[in-house]
């Protein structure tokens, strides 16, 4: 057992990150026995405040997409069903608490179901949906204050401003490194980038940033250019494994732009760090970052952002994933697809039960990638 895993060798650091991503936090007790973890589901739950409270944010991902806990109906997404089933099986027993940010209807309901039938302590934050509505920033700021009080109550320790500042710096650093990684994306295997970004939502952030810093030389050395793969954008909700990215790569594609909940969108947005009140910096980032489909900054902002992103990255195609029963992404899929096509970007909408892409998806993906102009076997 080791308290801190911190390989200085570039390749070892890379291996550590890949390993952490595949473990999805399941080995946390033996790897980090003195760390106290706090579970969360959504990027709109501010991990800065979890860290400032002396805890380590762990994104909760399901270990199966076929779980059917009796508390939820079958027409509910496998992320909610799978993670709740793990709660029933006491897989989250060691967590200090579990944080819910109210984003989609399912997360909103899951919070209540969890509080009623789970053993873990739950903490809620209700961010504004209309991020640019009059009073939204003030409301968000007050919600963050309330969240601080709840976390203080949970840990029985005062959360000092300096701790929040330090957490902001740590998270800003992780985001900066993730952005570096995102720049390398066109020249590195897609499942590798997906894996490295996911690790940053599962392992302690200090260890993550250090390992990422140490692994960047190896990654830069691996980066190849130019490549002859078909360039695609991927948009999706949570993807708890790299199955889809592996398949795209195997079939001759390369993900050059990522808009997934567990991908680069989690790290996007700039942490300014200039306000006297660090909570205002958190609000500002959330208000300015590329929105997920559950949020609205203006009517067409998300669609325009993704169209621009696809063009900037020279994507020839876009793969829009609808996780079964994920309504916000399903709603945007039709408009997004239409807009991308109008801009000369071919699109494929794929419905997946969870994160695993199977035989049927393979056939459709292959046909799609083959239709893209730069596709070469």
């Amino acid at each position: 057992m080791v308290e801190t895993i911190n390989p200085t060798d570039s390749k070892e650091a890379l291996e550590l990150l890949i390993e952490e991503a595949s473990l999805k936090g399941s080995d946390r007790l033996s790897r980090y026995p003195k760390h106290r973890f706090f579970g969360y589901f959504c990027s709109y739950f501010p991990e800065e405040l979890i860290i400032a409270a002396g805890l380590h944010p762990l994104r909760l991902l399901p270990d199966s997409e076929n779980s059917t806990p009796v508390e939820l109906p079958a027409y509910c997404c496998s992320l909610a069903r799978g993670t709740l089933d793990m709660e029933v099986r006491e897989k989250w027993r060691d967590l200090v608490g579990i944080g819910f940010a109210h984003t989609c209807d399912t997360m909103q309901c899951l919070s209540g179901v969890w509080a009623s039938s789970g053993q873990s302590k739950t903490v809620d934050i209700v961010p504004p949906v209309m991020l640019k509505a009059p009073g939204a920033s003030r409301y968000y700021h007050a919600e963050l204050h309330t969240l601080l009080s709840k976390l203080t109550g949970l840990t029985k320790q005062e959360i000092k401003a300096k701790a929040i500042r330090n957490a902001l710096i740590l998270c800003a650093n992780a985001r900066k490194l993730a952005a570096e990684l995102d720049v390398l994306r066109p020249n590195l295997p897609s499942p590798l980038i997906s894996s490295l970004l996911r690790a940053g939502q599962l392992m302690p952030r200090s260890e993550y940033t250090q390992a990422l810093v140490n692994s960047l030389p190896a990654l830069k050395a691996m980066a190849e250019e130019p490549h002859d793969k078909a360039k695609v954008l991927v948009s999706s909700a949570v993807l708890e494994n790299d199955s889809l990215f592996e398949m795209i790569e195997e079939l001759g594609g390369r993900v050059v732009a990522d808009d997934t909940c567990t991908g680069f969108r989690h790290f996007s947005g700039v942490t300014v760090g200039e306000s006297e009140d660090p909570l205002l910096d958190i609000v500002q980032r959330y208000s300015e970052m590329p929105p997920c489909p559950c949020k609205n900054r203006s009517l067409n902002e998300r669609i325009s952002y993704l169209t621009t992103l696809a063009k900037q990255r020279h994507a020839q195609g876009a793969i829009i994933i609808i996780r079964k029963y994920c309504e916000p992404h399903a709603w945007d899929a039709a408009t997004l697809s239409e807009r991308l096509r109008k801009n000369g970007i071919r699109t494929l909408t794929l419905e997946l039960e969870g994160a695993n892409a199977g035989g049927q998806e393979r056939t459709r993906l292959q046909a799609f990638l083959e239709s893209l102009p730069d596709y070469e076997l």
């Binding site: 009796v70 109906p73 989609c104 949906v129 509505a133 003030r138 489909p293 697809s337």
Partner: protein, 413 residues
């Protein structure tokens, strides 16, 4: 010898149904012909969600139409499948809300929609107090029609209404009033809003009183009555016409109670309904119950409009009232609400419609069911269906479950 048994209806029709038809018929005619009078009278047409702060819109002389209500009509008139298929062909997943899908289908193919579909809106007003779906749905409509979309964001209440949430909603309502002034060219008149609130209060009181008569045994109303008669409280809230209708309905229900006339013959089992009606099976589904002497004496769905206004200035009152709607609240609140209904209406059991189209209503139902059964000791049945799309309704499994459930009461009465 050939004998014929006289077939008696298992429910008692309401005399005021005629007034309901007249009232609603006039409303639909006015809405359908809005293009001929709306501009002339400077009364824009707004498509609004069922939880939108309609009093504010009325204060600006805006005529409101409800896509959710039209979708219920589409369903009752068996048009939903064709309309949903149009939306699905346009890229909208079959797992999305069937009200939204059939509405979008009606927008794309009005020729397939009953009443000729809905007239084109001048603006859209959505409030997310009922679900997150309405935002996405209305975004689609705003892009299609290229008209202003006003959204009232009412933060979900995990417990009590927080001061920051109330302030946030108040600020948005004030901004919405300014937006509406710009759109309509009319000035915001707080006195007029207060008058609208007052009319709303009256109609709500009448609806509450009418419903409370169902605490009597036998109950003067059954679930289909409640669902049909809720139409004016949704679309005519804040209008004198709505008040006139509910005055008549209340009088008739009061008389039924005085005469001990039940909505169904031989009421034997009293039940509470949870979730939106199963519109495509409105009578056949509830007949399975009424035939066995089971009457739904109250429900949480149409009860959503039987809530007193919160105190304060008109804007403050609206902020609290519209944020505190039951679908915007925790399972704990909703369990207590159901427990109270069971006690107040002396119900023997409850039936929950696990509605594939309405996640906020449905995903928490199982934990509520367990809590209510534990607290009250009465049985609760879960039925999986859909409020509008008949493709999600499996008749035989539903019938088997209902029969088994009703048989559990045989030993009791």
């Amino acid at each position: 010898m050939h004998t014929t048994k006289e077939k008696r209806p298992s429910y008692r029709p309401l005399v005021s149904n005629k007034v309901l038809q007249q009232t609603m018929g006039r409303y639909y005619a006015l809405t359908s012909w809005h293009r001929y009078w709306g501009k002339f009278l400077r009364r824009p047409l707004a498509w609004v969600t069922s939880g939108a702060p309609v009093e504010l819109l009325r204060a600006f002389n805006i005529h409101c139409a409800y896509p959710e209500q039209y979708a219920a009509i589409y369903s009752a008139r068996k048009a939903t499948v064709a309309l949903c298929e149009v939306a699905e062909a346009a890229g909208y997943s079959q797992d999305l809300c069937s009200y939204a899908r059939s509405n979008i289908g009606g927008v794309l193919r009005p020729d397939l929609a009953p009443l000729g579909g809905m007239p084109k809106p001048d603006l859209l007003v959505a409030c997310n107090n009922i679900c997150g779906t309405v935002l996405k749905w209305y975004e689609v409509l705003a892009r299609h029609f290229n008209v202003p979309l006003l959204v009232l964001d009412t933060p979900f209440m995990t417990d009590q209404l927080t001061p920051q949430a109330k302030d946030f909603v108040i600020e948005q309502l004030s901004a919405m009033a300014a937006d509406l002034a710009e759109i309509t060219g009319r000035r915001f008149n707080e006195k007029k809003l207060a008058e609208q609130m007052n009319l709303s209060r009256k109609i709500t009181s009448l609806w509450i009183e009418t419903r409370q008569y169902c605490q009597a045994s036998p109950s003067p109303l059954n679930a289909p009555d409640l669902f049909i008669n809720m139409a004016p409280i949704v679309v005519l809230r804040g209008s004198q016409k709505g008040i006139n209708f509910y005055s008549k309905l209340k009088d008739e229900i009061k008389e039924r109670v005085e005469l001990a006339q039940g909505a169904i013959e031989n009421e034997r089992i009293r039940l509470v309904w949870d979730n939106i009606a199963i519109w495509p099976q409105l009578f056949s589904f509830y007949k399975m119950f009424s035939e066995k002497g089971a009457c739904f004496v109250t429900d949480t769905y149409s009860g959503g409009w039987a809530v007193e206004q919160a105190p304060g200035t008109p804007i403050e009152s609206m902020a609290t009232t519209y944020t505190e709607v039951f679908l915007n609240r925790s399972p704990k609140f909703r369990a207590n609400q159901l427990i109270n209904l069971i006690k107040e209406y002396r119900a023997d059991g409850f039936v929950m419609h696990s509605n594939r189209s309405c996640k906020p209503y449905s995903l928490v139902q199982e934990v509520i069911r367990r809590e209510v059964m534990r607290e009250t000791g009465v049985p609760g049945l879960m039925i999986e269906a859909d409020m509008a799309d008949p493709r999600a309704y499996a008749e035989e499994p539903v019938r088997n479950r209902v029969q088994a459930f009703l048989e559990t009461f045989d030993d009791l009465k």
